[in-house]
Every structure is written in C-alpha cells, then in structure tokens.
C-alpha cells in the first residue's frame, strides 16, 4: 500500500504508542522499581530461605515437566504426521485443550480428581501419597498447562522436511533408531528446541493452575510466581519485585532464545 506520509506517520504513532504504553513502559518500570533503592532489598528477598526454596521448587517443576513433555511431544508429533490413524484428529484436538482451558479450571480439575472427595482418594490415602498441596500435584499441573507446545512446534517442521531422507537412510540399512537420531532429529531440532523454550517459559511462569493445587505454603509448596503473590499480599514489595525481576529476566532470555531459534528455523 502506497500510504501517504501523513497516514504512515499516523499508523506509526498509533501502533508504536500502543506497544510502548502496553508492553515497553511496564517492562522498564519493573526494573526501575526493583533497583530504586539499590540491589540489596530485592537480593535479600530472593536469597531469603523462602525465596531460595521457591526458586528451587520452580526449577524442579521445569526439570520434571519439560523432559516429559518433550519426549511425549516429539513421539506424538511423529505419530500424528507419519502414521495415518482414525484417532489422530481426536488426539490433535485433545492436545489443543490446555491452550483453551483457564489455568484455574485446570487446577480445579486436578483438585477434584485428587482431593478429599476425588476418585483416587481411597487408594492414595492407603498408599500414603499426598498429591494435593504438595509437589506431585504441582508437577501434574505444570505438565498439563505446558503439554501442547512441543507437539505444536514439531508437527509443522516434520511436515515440511518430508520423508525422502528417512527413506534413503532406511534403504541404506539404518534401523528406526539410527534413522531417528541421525536423520530426523537433526532436521527437526530447531523446531523441537523452540517448543522446549516455550514449554520452559510456561512452566516457569505458571501461576493459576499451580496456585489452586499447591495451597501456596511458604517454604514448602511455593514456586516463584506464587512467592510473588504472597510477598505482595504481605506488603513486602521489594520481595515481590525482586522475584518478579528474576522471572522477567528469564522471560527476556526466553524472548532472545525464541528469536535466535526462529532465525535458525527459517535459515
């Protein structure tokens, strides 16, 4: 469109003004607010026992949920793309569900399934396993919310690379594992990596679903996002901002990784 200078500038002002007010200004402000009184207050909050515990627990969620969803995601994408089956469209639809469901609803579903009146209560009580208000429930919530990313990012890449190279490898005598490791995985690696980055970001930041199943007990079942809320409620703003900045830095690292991976994928 050969927009005249006036309307071009108008669109620039509108669009960039919107991004500036909605996204950039808040991002700048959070760093400013956190370090307003120096680096000590936010640092103290994060390195407090509760803060460190929250950080460790958040990393534990990532360490469990991300590998599980990555293995599942790649396997599931292979099945969806390379093997015709009447159930594929159903599997595809179910995989999209976590995107559509409110995190609170996800939390509530797990809460009801594993709670006092849930279907598994008798068996779990007998085995002495506590799912709710403890780590297993939080892990289940993290896996649920971040389930679709790797599948969604891997499927289009698999479709794009086609099967010629795999057929060649197979013809030359490679078995299925060799073909997968030496031919398929190298070809889809940036797509998978992109999915892994999105999965990690989602698990790091998950709030709604985890908050319902965890009970947010300080020093026990509190991840960093829950720590932010608790600190805010306790009027400890430096604490809330300190943890927020840590999460914001991780978010910026995610953005950077996303951009680098997208460039690799397009190349």
């Amino acid at each position: 469109m050969s927009a005249n200078p006036a309307s071009r500038w108008g669109l620039r002002v509108l669009g960039l003004g919107y991004v500036g007010l909605l996204l950039l200004l808040p991002l700048v402000l959070i760093f400013y607010k956190t370090f307003e009184d120096g680096i000590a207050p936010p640092l103290d909050a994060i390195t407090s026992p509760d803060g460190l515990h929250a950080l460790k627990l958040t990393l534990l969620m990532v360490a469990i949920a991300v590998p599980l969803n990555t293995v599942f995601g790649v396997g599931c994408a292979l099945l969806l793309v390379r093997h015709r089956w009447w159930g594929n469209s159903i599997v595809d639809a179910v995989i999209n569900l976590p995107f559509a469901i409110s995190p609170v609803v996800i939390g509530l579903s797990l809460f009801l399934l594993y709670g006092a009146t849930g279907w598994f209560e008798p068996a779990l009580a007998e085995a002495g396993i506590k799912v709710l208000f403890s780590v297993p429930g939080m892990v289940l919530a993290s896996i649920f919310v971040s389930l679709p990313f790797v599948v969604r990012e891997t499927v289009p890449v698999l479709q794009e690379i086609g099967t010629e190279q795999e057929q060649a490898a197979s013809t030359l005598g490679a078995n299925a594992w060799q073909t997968f490791w030496r031919v398929t995985l190298p070809a889809i690696r940036w797509g998978v990596a992109y999915g892994v980055v999105l999965t990690t970001a989602r698990v790091l930041g998950e709030f709604g679903a985890v908050s319902v199943v965890s009970g947010s007990i300080s020093g026990q079942t509190q991840t960093l996002p829950l720590f932010v809320e608790k600190q805010y409620q306790n009027f400890n703003l430096p604490g809330a901002f300190g943890a927020s900045v840590l999460l914001a830095v991780l978010a910026l690292a995610t953005l950077l990784a996303m951009n680098l991976l997208k460039r690799k994928e397009d190349a």
């Binding site: 469109m1 050969s2 927009a3 669109l11 620039r12 509108l14 669009g15 960039l16 919107y18 996204l23 950039l24 808040p26 991002l27 402000l29 959070i30 607010k33 396997g75 099945l79 390379r82 093997h83 159930g87 599997v91 639809a93 179910v94 995989i95 999209n96 569900l97 995107f99 409110s102 995190p103 609170v104 609803v105 509530l108 009801l112 009146t117 990313f149 969604r152 795999e166 057929q167 197979s170 013809t171 005598g173 299925a176 594992w177 970001a201 989602r202 930041g205 709030f207 709604g208 319902v212 960093l224 996002p225 829950l226 932010v228 809330a240 927020s244 999460l247 978010a251 995610t254 953005l255």
Partner: protein
C-alpha cells in the same frame, strides 16, 4: 530391516516408523498420557459439576455472582479483541511493510506477554496504573483494569496471526488497484482487509479464548471486587469457600466457551485453505502460533 538388504519395507515407504516401538504401542502411550494428564482431571470436573444433579448445576451457573462474573468476562473479552484486532493489525502492518529504527526489537517485544509470567504482568500493571502510578492515573480495581490486563496478554495472538498473511500477500493486486485510481483507504478496505480476514479471525478467536480464561494478570490489578471479578477469579473464590460444585459448574461453562473458540479457529482455517486465501505457510492453529499463551 537387516543391514544390507535393499528391499524397501512398508516402513521406509511410510517414512520413519516410531523408533523402538511400533506405531500401535506408541499410540497406546500417547492415549494413556493424554488420558492421565488431561482427560481424567476434566472428567472429574464434569462429574463434580453434576454431582448434585442438573438442577444444582443450573442454580450455580445462574447465581447472581456467577452471572455477573460471566457477563464481565465475556463483555471484557469482546472489548479486548476489538481493541487488539485494530492495534494488532496496525502493528502487523508496521512490522511487515514499514521501516523504522528498532523494528527488530519491537518485533521481539511483541511476544513478551507469552514469556512473562502473568502474575508479574499483574504486579507491574498495578505499579504503572495503580495507586502509586508515576503518571497519576489510577485504574486499579476497576473494569478498565480488567480490559488493560487482557489487552496485555492477548496482543501477540492477533499480531502473529496477521503477520504471515501480510508477508505473503501479493503486492501486485494493490498496485493494480492504485493504478486504477484507488486511494489508500479503499485499497485497504477492498484488497488488504479481505485477504487478512482468515488470519485476523483466527487470531481474534484465539485471543478471545485466552481472555475468557485469564487469571494471573487480572488478579492483583483488577482484584476480586464484585464489580471486577472475572469468572476465573470467581471460580477460585468458590474453591476457597468450599463450594466445589459451584466452582466446577462455572468452570464447565467457561470451558465450553473456550472450546467453541478453538472449534471456530479450526473452521476458519479450513475455510481459508479451501478458498486458497491462505498462503502455504499459514498453519495458524494454535500450532504455528508462537505460544498460545505462556504463563498464567
């Protein structure tokens, strides 16, 4: 297949078989994983919502507070997709057709809401537009705050759905229209906009689904006053006060509405593919979309 034999097996014709296990076993594991992680909890939710019969379900959904929260959630979501539909399209246009310094950075920042945890978003929005606002504009705990928070989390959906369509759009049509004397606005209305419609529709539907369920970003900023309580916040208050059936009933309604949005996205895509409006690269199910919603 034995090494050295050159008979193409069924496997090689079909491409790679899932390594280590047959497709059947793989399917079984996928179905098991999805059932354990996703379907079983949702079944428990549906079960609980109807635990005391259809009458109670209906009573819970139509209780004044529940209705109020649903109305606010749906109303705010409409306003938000309208705002982001306009600004998202402008931004996509700027990022594809315009040149200005810092364009790459702006392009990267668009995904910020996907990467930033929603509770952090809520905290900074509160700091920026709340009681301690540096510009003296306090909208915290109002319905405007709900709209701003939802605008924040849903902006990338629209931009990222429209962008690829603009990139692949044939400029010749626009040039032809211009040479026939059409002005900028006419070209946009008659040529560009109809071509963007499938992407815009899909992006808006995804944004709407996300807005319906959003929780974290609204929580601190808009709070839980009767006037500003969206459905997800209402559900949490019901869980906290022990009304599991009420929470489950409203959840089922919310879930139904978002699933409807996803179905709409799928239909829009099929329509776009059939009418060849979509370029090859356009696979914007939640699929090609970078995120579909990170953090919450």
């Amino acid at each position: 297949m034995e090494a050295g034999t050159f008979t193409p097996t069924r496997a090689s014709r079909a491409g790679l078989r899932l390594p280590g296990l047959g497709a059947g076993l793989g399917r079984g594991m996928v179905v098991l994983y999805l059932s354990l992680i996703v379907l079983l909890p949702l079944a428990a939710l549906a079960d609980q919502s109807l635990a005391q019969g259809l009458g109670t379900f209906w009573d819970q959904v139509t209780s004044p507070q529940a209705v109020r929260s649903l109305k606010l959630t749906i109303g705010a979501s409409f306003v938000v997709v309208l705002i982001n539909g306009v600004f998202g399209t402008i931004l996509a246009w700027l990022l594809v057709r315009d040149r200005f310094p810092g364009k790459a950075a702006i392009n990267a920042v668009i995904d910020l809401p996907f990467a930033l945890p929603t509770i952090v978003a809520s905290l900074i929005l509160l700091e920026l537009w709340g009681a301690r606002s540096p510009v003296g504009l306090d909208i915290a705990a109002t319905q405007a705050a709900v709209v701003v928070a939802l605008c924040f989390v849903t902006l990338p959906f629209v931009v990222r759905a429209v962008q690829p369509l603009l990139m692949e759009m044939d400029r010749e049509m626009e040039e032809a229209a211009a040479s026939l004397g059409a002005g900028g606005f006419t070209i946009f209305r008659r040529i560009i906009f109809p071509n963007l419609l499938p992407g815009l529709g899909a992006g808006v539907a995804l944004a709407f689904a996300r807005a319906l369920g959003e929780f974290g970003s609204v929580l601190l900023f808009a709070g839980g006053l009767p006037d500003t309580m969206v459905s997800s916040v209402y559900i949490r208050t019901q869980i906290e006060s022990g009304n599991d059936t009420g929470a489950a009933a409203v959840s089922v309604v919310l879930l139904g509405a978002s699933v409807l949005c996803l179905v709409l996205v799928t239909l829009i895509q099929r329509w776009a593919v059939r009418h060849d409006r979509a370029p090859d690269k356009f696979i914007p199910t939640v699929a090609a979309d970078p995120g579909g919603g990170t953090g919450s």
